[in-house]
Each structure stands twice: as structure tokens, then as C-alpha cells.
Amino acid sequence: MTAASLTGADAETKVPLKRRLKQAERARQIKALALVLPLLLFLLFTFAGPIAGMLWRAVDDQEVRQVLPQTIVALANWDGKDLPDEKAYAALANDIQAARAAGTIAIAAKRLNYALNGFRTILTSTARNLKIQPEPGTAKEALGKINPAWRNRTTWTTIRDAGGPVTSFYLLAALDLVRNADGAIVAASPDQAIYREIFARTFLISLGVTALCLILGFPVAYLLAALPPGRSNLLMIFVLLPFWTSLLVRTCAWIVLLQSNGVVNESLHWLGIIDAPLRLIYNRFGVCVAMTHVLLPFMILPLYSSMKAISPAYMRAAASLGAPPLTAFLRIYLPQTLPGIGAGSLLVFILALGYYITPALVGGAADQMISYFIALYTTETANWGLASALGALLLLATVLLALVYGKLVQGQQVTGGMKN
């Protein structure tokens, strides 16, 4: 009130002022929202939606529940220590006959076969041989006679564990883990345990490609930042040239160059350096070379922008203060390029993690990265659950990396900012 009386305005004129401010702000906010709305909707439908769907599929488990509903209900109260009771057997016999009529046996068989190899045969043979509904009280015996696997506890725990509606099965499988019959998480059998190695390989290749990009890109970015504008623009066009041709074309060009009778081998042979062609492609070397080539601009551009911001006066100042060129570079220049190195490395590393086409075309069987398997499970075997689980883990790794990077950059800003 004192403030109001000081300015000569009473409380009534103050409220409308606040409201008017809000209205003015609202108009601006609506305008801003309207500007981003198309992109927001686009991203929602094409990006956020599919990712949420993928994440959901990694834990979604409905197939068995839909095909064998009574069995799942009957197994709900089973303690899992012994074979289930007669009621469960009768429910299963019911479900199988209903599913056979509906033609949905294969759906459940496929899902159960992921969890227990050979389950498809158990289920289809039972469905084929179970002509009539067994007399009440004889279902256990009848099913056991058709396939002895029904006298096995593991067969039943497999059905129970696949009962959904959500499961950790795919996520565990993506980490080479399974639940045993007692529900404990244990390592998968060695012939199934391949994903950890693939993840490790994916990270290793990405790390290698990132390091190569940094080593090759740093001098180029430095040159770009140091040259006068005219020539640096020309050089920049060369750096951006790869973006003008399709990824596929560039990758295939490497096949032409690196294959046994390709340009590189022929040249080396002609020069007398080698007698037999070197194996340059369909191995790790080819993958790293082709990926580095494709990803190099993503390293150079952030490096360039961070270097462009470093005034040449800093290096002159360092020299005038007595620092030899190498000392000046290491102590003055390099630390100031760290944000660029971080951004470029993160960008290249994350892009490399998800690489699919290049390793598929120029890599050998032992060089396929996680994306290859995601694609394989999505398009070839239609194992969407596992594909989604692998994708979710990859996403998690990427998000963690981005968070760590954000934390690092923020830390730098808090302690004083990189630019003055």
C-alpha cells in the first residue's frame, strides 16, 4: 500500500496493470507456441511416439496371454515348486483346442520358443495330437502321454513367465541374462549369450571411429579456423562435400577402393609394395575407415566453431609471455577447444553407436554392430520384443552419455565461462 501511495496509484489500478502485463505476455506466448507447434506435432508423431512404442514393446508380453488365457489364470496361484495341478492341465488342453480352431497356436509357440528352445515343437505336436478334450481328471495324464515335456516343471514355468502382461525377459536377454525356473536371474547359456559382446564391440568401434575422427579432424578444423575467409570457405565446401552424396554411394565407393582387386590394392601391387592383395574390407579396418569418412564432418564442424571463437591474440600473448609454440598450444589453445572436442566426440560417438548400413556393407560377420541385430530382429525374425530391448539399452547408453556431457559443460560454465 505504501508503494502504491508513493506512486500515486491505488490498489485498483495496480491489478489491471498486472492483468494487462499477463495478457500481453500471453499473446506473445501463444505466438511462440504457434510457431513451434507444427514441428512439435511432427516430432510427437514421428519421434516421441515411435520411441515410446519401442520402449513399450521391450517389456510388453501379450502373445501367450491372448492365446492361452485359461492356462495363465490357472497358473496364477501355482507355487512353481512341483508340477501344476490337474486344473492347469485341463485349462491348457482347453486353450490349445481353442487356439487350434482360431489358428493362433503359432503366435504363442513363437514367443515360448524364444524362452525355451524346442517349445514350438512341444506346442504344435500337442495341438496336433490332442484330438478331443480329455475326460475330467485325466488331462495331466493325457498331455503327458502326448509329449513327456508336460511332465517337466520347466515347461510350465516357461508358460507362466511368458504370461505377461509385462516382462523383463527381452531386456534380460539383451544383457545375456535369463530367469531360471525358480525366478532367479542367471547368465544365459554361452550359445545364447552374444549381446554383451556385441554391445562391447559397438562401443569399441564407436570409440575407435571417434578417436580417428578427432585425430584427423582437429588439424583440418584448425586450418579452417586459421585461413583467411575466402580460402577457408573453399575448404569448408570440401568438408561438407560428403553431405551432397548419399551414404550408400560413399560406402560403396569404399568397396570399390578397398576390395582385393580394388584401387588401393592394385596400386600397392603395381608399386611393388605388396605381392598378395591386403585384406582391407569386410573386416574391422574397412568398417572403421568407412565410418570415419562418413562421420568426419560431424567432428570438424563443432571443432571449427570452437576454434573460430579463439582469438589469435591468445597465442600471441602466450608467445610474448615466453611460451614456446607447443607449450602455448597445450596450455592455452587446447583447453579452449575442449567444448568443441566434447561436442564433436559426443556427436560422432552417438551417431557411430547407431550405425547400421556401413558396417553391414563393408564389415565382416564379426564387425556387425548392435543396430544390425536390431534391424535383423525387426525385419527378418520379427522378434520385436528383443529388437526393442536392444534399442532401449542403446538409447539408455546414449542418454547417459549426453547427460554426462551436459554435466561437464555446465560445470565449466559455472566456474567462469569459456569466453569473455
Binding site: 600471441r316 567462469g416 569459456m418
Partner: protein, 369 residues
């Protein structure tokens, strides 16, 4: 070294026949010979493109002379890399390392010289005390004001006791008041520490305030090297007269030439007597230079013996607080300035006819502009 010891009273820095060209076509610095004495504050003054900054950069080692040799303490340094020259430098935009604290910035020249930790600490503290910034040692350059940053840059350039300190328009980015304050601080540092400073500026008042000697550059040539007062009182040519201080120019032709004085017929009518400084002889064109504070406005008819007397028309008056200026039309020069006592401008009205007088000694006949 022995040859150097034989030479009498060697200059700390000697530019000998220095030429510099960037494009191989025209010379930015044409034949520079310049000696800088130990303990001297010398300013390279000139308009942009006059070669003063290039000269400084050659001394610092960031540019290589196309021809000639530079000696530092009698050692040729033309091909010596900057980091070996032991020259401290203060840059126009401070060039403080943004990723290091103030303390680390000041310690940098000591740490690259592998000075012991205790010694470094002590000298950094002393340097920060000198610029009165001990309390801000842990800040980063981005958190300081322009004046504070410039002080740190100064401390950093002095902390390793270089034999020479170069300053490349160090105050150009500061506002006027701060600039004047820093001028005095730098001057005091120079006097108390006895360091040799080579200072580059295009601001003539800054040069006059601070320097022991000023080298006026134009067109790649040193026009005049002299003490500030000598430069102002006795400019050797029209460029120096116009560049250093306020100046009125009247153009004319030399009529008669007698010892140190000459009669000049003005292009706009009238004749005056002037000191002959830079004229080739009778009949030559000349530009006369008269300082605004050496002129008096007198009422019509009044005459003083021997003084030059010219009719003038008042254009306008400018009040500047501590003094006032009258803008007159004198012999075709419509921007002829006369400095007045404050208050004296009130009596002048636009269009009024008056006379101006000035002594022949205060009027210099220089080369035509």
C-alpha cells in the same frame, strides 16, 4: 657481445633500415631507423595504416622485417622467435586466457620459465598487489570489468621483469574517464619500476600525456621523433602540426624570405609574417599553422606592433566548460578556431566582423598540404 660493449651508450632497441611489405608492392614501413633508450617511455603515434602497429609487431616478433635488422640489447633479433625475446606485451583486447583464473594468468609467464613455486607465488602476489587486485585472484577474466582486465594484462606483462614492455593501444576499448585514469597508472608504473615501454596509439592526447618521446608515423615513415612539448611547439611539417594538438591551417605563397622568417601572401587575401620551418624558398606554396590558443580576437582597428592582423567573421561559438572556442572565417578557412576564456564567447555574435592577431613566432610556415 664484445662488439656491443665497444659501442658507446648503446640503445636498448635499435631499428636499422627496417622495411616491411605484406604484398610485395607497397611498403607499410619505409626505411625506419629508430633508437629506443633504456628506461624510456616512447610512443608510436599515427593514424591507422601508418605502420606503427607493424613496427611494434616486428619488435615483438610476430612480423618479420622485409629488410633491415632490429637489435635488442645489441643482439640482432630479426629471426628470433617471440617467446625467446623476453618482451612483455599488452594487447588491445587484453588477451587474458579465459580458461585460467587471474592468478593463473599472471603466473603463466613464470610457469613457462619454470620459476620455483614459492618464488612464483610471491611474485604473483606482489604483481596483484601492485594493481590492487589481490582479492580477485581466483576470478576468471570474464568476471572482470574492462579496466580490471587491462590491469591484469599489465601485471602479467610485467611480472617476469621483461627488458622491454610493448603496449598495443591498450586503452582503446575503455571509456574516456577510465582511460585517463589508466594513463596515469601506467605512467606511475613506468616511473616507479624504471621499465622501458613502447606504446602504440592513435590518440595524440594519450601520447602527449604519457610519453618521454613520441615518434609520429605517417605513410610508413617516421615524420618526427621528439619530446611531447617539442612536438607541439616545433612540428617539422604540416602532418605533425595537424596530427598533434588542435591546429588552424591557412594556405598561401611565400613572398619574401629573410633569415628565420618569411612573408606569406594568403590565398584568401592578406599577408602575414611567419616562422620559416619547412619551405623551399620564395614563390613556394605553403601551409601556415597557428594554434588556437595563440590567437587573440581584437576589436576593429586595434593594432599591436609586429603582430599579424587579419580580418575575420564570426561563424559560431562553442562553450566547453573550462574554455570556449570561436569558429571564425579567416582568409577562406571557414573552420578557423580561436580558444577563448570561458565567458568571453558571449560578446561574439554570428556574422560579426572582428580582427585576429597572433605573433609571427606562433605562426609556422610548413609544407603545403
Amino acid at each position: 657481445m664484445e662488439a656491443g660493449m665497444l659501442r658507446p651508450a648503446p640503445a636498448l632497441v635499435r631499428f636499422s633500415g627496417i622495411q616491411k611489405t605484406y604484398d610485395g608492392e607497397h611498403l607499410v614501413v619505409k626505411n625506419l631507423d629508430l633508437d629506443i633508450k633504456k628506461g624510456e617511455f616512447i610512443t608510436l603515434l599515427g593514424p591507422s595504416g601508418s605502420g606503427k602497429t607493424t613496427t611494434l609487431m616486428m619488435l615483438a616478433g610476430f612480423e618479420v622485417p622485409t629488410h633491415g635488422e632490429i637489435y635488442l640489447a645489441d643482439r640482432p633479433i630479426k629471426n628470433m622467435p617471440p617467446h625467446k625475446r623476453d618482451i612483455g606485451m599488452v594487447f588491445q583486447n587484453y588477451a587474458l586466457f579465459p580458461h585460467l583464473t587471474i592468478e593463473e594468468n599472471v603466473a603463466f609467464p613464470l610457469s613457462v620459465r619454470k620459476t620455483s613455486k614459492a618464488d612464483t607465488q610471491e611474485r604473483v602476489r606482489a604483481a596483484l598487489r601492485m594493481i590492487k587486485m589481490e582479492t580477485l585472484a581466483q576470478r576468471r577474466p570474464g568476471q572482470l570489468s574492462g579496466g580490471q582486465q587491462q590491469r591484469v594484462a599489465l601485471a602479467r606483462a610485467l611480472v617476469f621483469n621483461p627488458q622491454l614492455v610493448l603496449m598495443d593501444e591498450p586503452l582503446g576499448a575503455l571509456d574516456k574517464r577510465l582511460r585517463e585514469q589508466m594513463q596515469l597508472e601506467i605512467k606511475q608504473l613506468h616511473e616507479s619500476m624504471g621499465i622501458t615501454i613502447v606504446y602504440v596509439t592513435h590518440d595524440q592526447s594519450e601520447a602527449l600525456t604519457m610519453s618521454d618521446r613520441i615518434a609520429v608515423f605517417n605513410d610508413g615513415i617516421v615524420q618526427q621523433i621528439d619530446r611531447p612539448d617539442a612536438l607541439y611547439e616545433h612540428p617539422v611539417n604540416s602532418f605533425v602540426a595537424n596530427f598533434v594538438g588542435e591546429n588552424n591551417v591557412l594556405s598561401g605563397t611565400v613572398d619574401a624570405f629573410e633569415r628565420n622568417f618569411c612573408r606569406v601572401a594568403l590565398a584568401g587575401g592578406g599577408t602575414v609574417t611567419a616562422r620559416a620551418v619547412n619551405i623551399s624558398g620564395a614563390g613556394a606554396a605553403t601551409s601556415l599553422s597557428v594554434r588556437p590558443e595563440r590567437i587573440a580576437i581584437v576589436p576593429n582597428g586595434t593594432s599591436s606592433d609586429g603582430a599579424n592582423r587579419l580580418p575575420a567573421k564570426v561563424q559560431s561559438t562553442i562553450y566547453l566548460g573550462d574554455h570556449a572556442l570561436a569558429v571564425l572565417d579567416v582568409a577562406g578557412n571557414a573552420e578557423f578556431m580561436v580558444k577563448l576564456q570561458p565567458g568571453a564567447h558571449d560578446s561574439l555574435t554570428h556574422g560579426e566582423s572582428v580582427f585576429i592577431t597572433f605573433r609571427p613566432e606562433d605562426c609556422l610556415a610548413l609544407d603545403p598540404v
